[in-house]
Symmetry: C2
Subunit: 410 residues, 2 copies
């Protein structure tokens, strides 16, 4: 037997490995130095008190025969599904209960959802991007078409950029058909850029015209404060062309607690096959549902008290974003994000993103993420995260100001 | 775009739907009647106190910034992996830490593991079997060769049975190559039959000869009390041909709490590709690990106290098995399982398994599972589960004795 040979086509991702190596070496040479870690994509604040209470209650339920929960419905606890459905209602999006699926998190679901499509699809991935989009598609035998974004389009590509990338891939003999799948992450990781209704409408219309399916990653929607779409289903026609994958990881600090949700509208049909019942069949075959304990904890996120508490945490991260973007504004550095997203994507003074990384590490002990790690078009850019502590973020911002103000003429 | 058309090849599973329909109708016609449910595959006893304590501690950890856990390692918490590694040591199986992966449960992993192999594999599934084995393979585009078991081999097929099934599938034009994957569940669901070292050695040798990979489902290993293999790695050579998938669902009552573990030896290599690093890459791409809370709870299972407590629960289920098998012994009914497994698989008096189901429901209000639902060769057999309450199991056994003793000449 021959195992899945697609794994041999994967490129090693050296991004976080290199960062760890470089910071490790620096600390070895400069023992005891404090680093200001502005690169992390993980949250730092604990779970909301309402969630903690619900989790404890759920654990107690599992301790007594009368309240013990065995196998859960594979597609999710009906009470939690109803709360998520109602939450979409507050965004003006009407869903049926059975269009909502509970998952172990967005990253799990972004990989698993490819089961619905089978090998050989042409997947368009807007870059810079979360590296797992590309790898999951390569593993499953799909062709990846990279749609580069840049400063000229505010890191928000339009369908014409997609057409161009497709034409180039066809000319290079890399693909024949397609597009089949279109990945959109908004608010975006790593750029923090957010698609407007108008820009998202263009993609929805294009996907429908091309008979493609949009995989919409809404993991950062809770950070939106302006009038921008939280859900792709705010766009007319999206229920005929999009799957939406969301998560409590960044919304409610569930990165290590694990819970997400996926929406597959019943009106999403391709080649006569409705994707919603296929996903029900997939989940009932390939999972036994998400932990009762975690699902009960997640229910608390969607209560009034839970929403209030999680937004207190989000406000802390947003204040970090304000502190950093204010500094970049004063320095005259071009950036996207920071306002409606927990990431800030700056154009590196000096250009080279790894040189900028080394300089920040060695001169001001600030650690960020070189944009090159998120795709070739990320070179020359740099990601700052808003998930650090407010104290460290303040110091990092001050140090960046002092380091760069003179050369930038401020 | 065309979605995965393999889903159209799936057969609907009517087993549990039919059972629910029939019992529902009976209760409608006989309101208030108590049913003795001996069909359930879910546990009924709560989690062990040591696990509950650890789960509460883990929830408290998530409430404070100093102890909060974000993203966990995708392959599992190192402390838990070490405990599982040490647990295998008590079985005489030496593993490296990085051969152990923590999962959300066996059913999740049994589906996901197929990612390692890609479409077009010839998968041999010994029947009667857990229906998800077949469906997961069909979804992914593999060919399924059903290897029937029966009374003549004690529901434990030998490689010659596999050869015969392969030859028939080849003659029918259903497959060309293979075998690639061989599914073995021991102790078996639904039959409760357990492979001896000798019988398992025959499969390991055959798999190696054929260059195939065994997927060994050890979900019920904790129920073994005789000198029978708990792990396939007790068999020499298995580390060169087998993946083992295990779960705390039945061992520690985690059906609704969700945690399992998978072993992929580093010496498992096919066509020059080592499966262990491929699985690391799969997990780091397609998951963000299992919930910190649940992993901390699972750690308690592997402590001395935890092991003692979970075996107290298992002893309750085993006593149910004793009560039922004693009745079948007195009635002279042929069966497998019940001793080293939580299932008992009886030959139906009268033959037809759905007729026997109806008779038990209507005459003695006992609900079991017709064997036909686990594959064609299950017709004429019937599964009883040992996971019910001791009180109900006692009543069910007494009623079966009274119903059948005269016609069976006792």
């Amino acid at each position: 037997m021959t195992p899945n040979t697609n794994y041999q086509k994967l490129k090693e991702s050296y991004l976080f490995h290199h960062i760890a190596q470089k910071t490790g070496k620096y600390l070895e040479e400069n023992p005891g130095t404090k680093l200001y870690r502005m690169g992390i994509g993980d949250v730092s604040l604990p779970l909301a008190p309402a969630v903690i209470t619900a989790l404890h209650e759920a654990v107690d339920d599992q301790a007594k025969k009368a309240t013990f929960h065995g196998y859960m419905p594979e597609v999710g606890d009906p009470e939690l599904r109803e709360l998520i459905r109602a939450f979409y209602g507050t965004r003006g999006v009407a869903l049926d209960l059975d269009e909502v699926f509970v998952s172990s998190g967005a990253s799990d679901e972004l990989g698993d959802i490819l089961d619905l499509f089978g090998p050989g699809q042409v997947s368009m991935i807007m870059e810079p991007a979360y590296p797992a989009y590309v790898d999951a598609n390569i593993m499953t035998g799909n062709s990846v078409v990279h749609v580069p974004a840049g400063k000229e389009n505010g890191f928000l590509p339009v369908p014409a950029d997609g057409e161009k990338a497709l034409a180039e891939a066809r000319a290079a003999g890399e693909i024949s058909g397609g597009p089949d799948l279109i990945y959109i992450c908004s608010p975006n990781n790593p750029t923090g850029a957010v698609f407007t209704k108008e820009k998202l409408t263009a993609w929805v219309d294009w996907a429908k015209e091309k008979d493609a399916v949009i995989i919409f990653d809404a993991a950062y929607e809770a950070f939106i404060e302006e009038d921008l779409p939280h859900s792709i289903y705010e766009i007319p026609g999206a229920k005929e062309c999009a799957v939406e994958i969301c998560s409590l990881s960044k919304t409610a600090g569930f990165t290590g607690t694990r819970l997400g949700y996926t929406v597959i509208p019943k009106t999403l049909v391709r080649a006569g096959l409705a994707l919603n019942p296929m996903w029900v069949r997939n989940r009932t075959t390939k999972t036994n549902g998400v932990s009762y304990i975690i699902q009960k904890g997640a229910r608390a996120v969607f209560t009034d008290e839970g929403q209030k508490q999680i937004h207190q945490n989000i406000a802390v991260y947003k204040e970090n974003g304000r502190v950093l973007t204010e500094t970049f504004d004063r320095l005259g550095i071009w950036y996207t994000g920071g306002k409606n997203a927990p990431y800030i994507w700056i154009q590196c003074p000096g250009g080279d993103s790894w040189a900028f990384f080394d300089r920040l590490l060695h001169e001001v002990q600030v650690v960020g993420t070189p944009g090159e790690g998120f795709g070739a078009c990320g070179e020359g850019y740099f990601r700052f995260s808003c998930f650090g502590s407010p104290e460290d973020t303040r110091v990092a911002a001050d140090r960046l100001w002092l380091l760069l103000k003179e050369e930038l003429g401020k």
